[in-house]
Every structure is written in structure tokens, then in C-alpha cells.
Amino acid sequence: MEERSYQRKPVVKIREMKDDYMKFELRNTDASVANALRRVMIAEVPTVAIDLVEIEVNSSVLNDEFIAHRLGLIPLTSERAMSMRFSRDCDACDGDGQCEYCSVEFHLRAKCVVDQTLDVTSKDLLSSDHTVVPVDFNEIAGDETSEQKGVMIVKLRRGQELRLRAIARKGIGKDHAKWSPAATVTFMYEPEININEDMMARLSLEDKQSIVESSPTKVFDIDPTTQQVVVVDAEAYTYDDEVIKKLESMGKTGLIDIKAKEDSFIFTVETTGAVKASQLVLNAIEILKQKLDAVRLSDDTVEADDQFGELGAHMRGG
């Protein structure tokens, strides 16, 4: 058998990288791979989130399941998630899904004893594992911003109490959105904008300004020195064809030509803080590899006969 390889060699260039935000370019790969990466980042990268809540005392204004739902949505730092086991696969625990390999225990005790409203936030949620804690949103340098108090769970009046025990487990976004580590993941085709300079020079200044203004986003501008229409930010183009339509209405079709480069993508990844943005992409690649591996044909892959009736009839000449 000769060595046949139809492998592409993708190229990455990072534009901007912060803890929870990342913008990068991905080239020399197919749209299907870019989309698969996006889908995996949103739905299949595992995280840790509260999944079981035992409430001892709740005299707050919110009912038990309401609070349990809110607790589940709190993002927890999930570096450990990739190495943890799913509860359903864990053989170390005694079946109730609470052991150190597959779960993390939390507890919360709050009682309001003063006249002011007591805010119960994610900072009051105490973990048994210091690597899995509610995400700290102290990005902003301000002193008294609301982010410093953590995610609000419930507010208590004097005399009201909340005491509970929560178990956090590993899961994926496909199961429930609380396990999705991604806030938004988007990618766009990189646009290639060509302006026909000769035709452009023959236009009046008002015509040029109307062309520049016809785009809802600031893609073009008039260069102050040369009085020509130039591309100021190609990537602000959202593939609305407003400029093309404006040119057609002016009778100047073909003046500006905009194409999407088929194998060049600009990704924007924003996470909830559960995982770092760069780590999210790396985990997504790892998970995609694992999925492909699971789908490989092995020597014992059998030929299905009666199992799939919908294919049976026409395939068997019936």
C-alpha cells in the first residue's frame, strides 16, 4: 500500500489573548474543521458544575429547586475537569456518585442576623477542593464594583437562613448548558476586499462618501490626503452586501469586489472563566481527537446485518 496522505497543515496566529478572551487566525484548514472546533468548544469540553444539592434549611424567598438551579449555573474553575472521571464511569465510589475521583463537595451556610439585607453570593460557597472553586470575577480594577462580591445566589432578610450541601460533577455542555465553558465562540471568514482604483478615481467626492456611509459597519473611509476610498478595517465587514447593493444602484457594479477567503478564519473565543481561553481551544482539539479515535474501525467492527432495518431493504436488494 502506498502512503497516501491528504492531510492539511493548519497555521495559527494569535491576535489577542487574555485570560477569558482570545482572538486568533486559523489558516489552511477546512470550514468543517473550524466548525467542529467551535461545536466542541461549546458543547463537548468538560467542566465541573454543581449537580446535586441537599438543602437542610431554606427560609429564603426563593424555593429549593430555584436555588439549586442557580447553584448549578455558577461557573467553577475546572482545570481538573479533563483528568476527572464522569460519575457514571467511576468505579471507585459506592454508587452514589460522591467520591474524590469524580466529584467535589461544597457547602454553604448563611443566616441573616442584622437588619440589612444579606447577599448570599458565590463567594459564600465553600469547596472541599481548593482547585475547584467558584470563578472569581475580579478582572476590573475598580474597588467597589459589583464583580467583587461574586455571583448573587439569593438575598436574605433578618431571620432567614440558608444551609445546604452541594456535589459538583464533571459534565459536558451537550448534557446541560451549565457545563459549557464557553461564553461565545465565533468564527468568520477573512474578507478580501479589492477596490478598482481607476474606476474609483473617476467618482465625485459625494459619491465616494455615500459609498463609505452605505456600510453599516466602518469598513471604508476617505483617505484625507488622497481623497480616495480606502479600506480601514476589512474585518468589520459582516458580509451584509450593502456596499455592493449601493454600487449597483449607482450603476457602478464591480467597483468594489469582496470575497471570503475559503480557508482563512478569524476565531473569537470567550469563556465563562471556568477554563482559560487558550486552554479551552487546546482541550477542544484533544476532545475532537478522542472522538475521532472512538469512531475508528477496528478489527472487530462487525458488519451489521439486521440491526439497521432502514438500510436493510434496498441494500440487500429487497
Binding site: 494569535i14 467542529a36 461545536r39 448534557d175 487546546l282 475521532l292 458488519e303 451489521a304 440491526q307 438500510l311
Partner: protein, 118 residues
């Protein structure tokens, strides 16, 4: 009331195989691969990768029903190859491409972080 459980989307039940295939009796070198508990994420990249193979005459995938969590990938090849071979080659190439992507990414992160020290 009739909705399947969420975990049905990705947990393969006991006794069901993840991948199986059926040869087409009427067309030579043609087969359908049934992959359980997968959807467009795998289906589309497999299909696009199969299209790059010169020996593949036809490659397509479908989800027979949105509530049945499986995909069917249909492959026709020339006599130079077989659907199983094309399938395995496609998966191996995708695996290598993702490896390449991962190293490219890791290098780029390292460069970006070190460049930002200044």
C-alpha cells in the same frame, strides 16, 4: 413526555456498537457506516476529508432523524480502494491534522506569552 434523555445524545448503551457498517449488495465498493451517538461535528469533518481522497467517488452523511442520535456515512470508492480503507485513511489524516494544529497552537501561545513580557 416522549423526549429522550439528554445523556442519550452521547452515551452509547450497553450492547450497541459505536461503529458498524453495511456493504451495499447492488453496488460494488460501496458501504454505509452507522456511527452511534455522533452528529454533525464528526459527520461533516469526515465527509469533507473523504472528498479529498481521489479514490472516493461518493461520500455523504446524514442524520436519519433528529431524535435518533446517530449518523450514516455512505462511501463509494473506485476498485483501487475500499470504503473501509478510505474511512480509515480519512480518520488518520484528520488525526494528524489535529496533531499539527495542536502543536502550532501551543507554539503560538508560547511565542505570544513570551513576546508579551516586554
Amino acid at each position: 413526555m416522549n423526549a429522550p434523555d439528554r445523556y442519550e445524545r452521547f452515551v452509547v448503551p450497553e450492547g450497541t456498537k459505536k461503529v458498524s457498517y453495511e456493504r451495499d449488495t447492488k453496488i460494488i465498493n460501496a458501504a454505509s457506516f452507522i456511527i452511534e451517538r455522533e452528529e454533525h461535528t464528526i459527520g461533516n469533518i469526515l465527509r469533507m476529508q473523504l472528498h479529498l481522497d481521489e479514490n472516493v467517488l461518493f461520500a455523504g452523511y446524514k442524520l436519519p432523524h433528529p431524535l435518533q442520535y446517530k449518523i450514516i456515512v455512505r462511501i463509494h470508492t473506485t476498485s483501487q480502494s475500499s470504503p473501509m480503507q478510505a474511512y480509515n485513511v480519512a480518520i488518520n489524516d484528520l488525526d494528524k491534522e489535529l496533531d499539527h494544529l495542536r502543536t502550532a497552537f501551543e507554539d503560538e501561545i508560547a511565542n505570544h506569552s513570551s513576546a508579551r513580557e516586554y
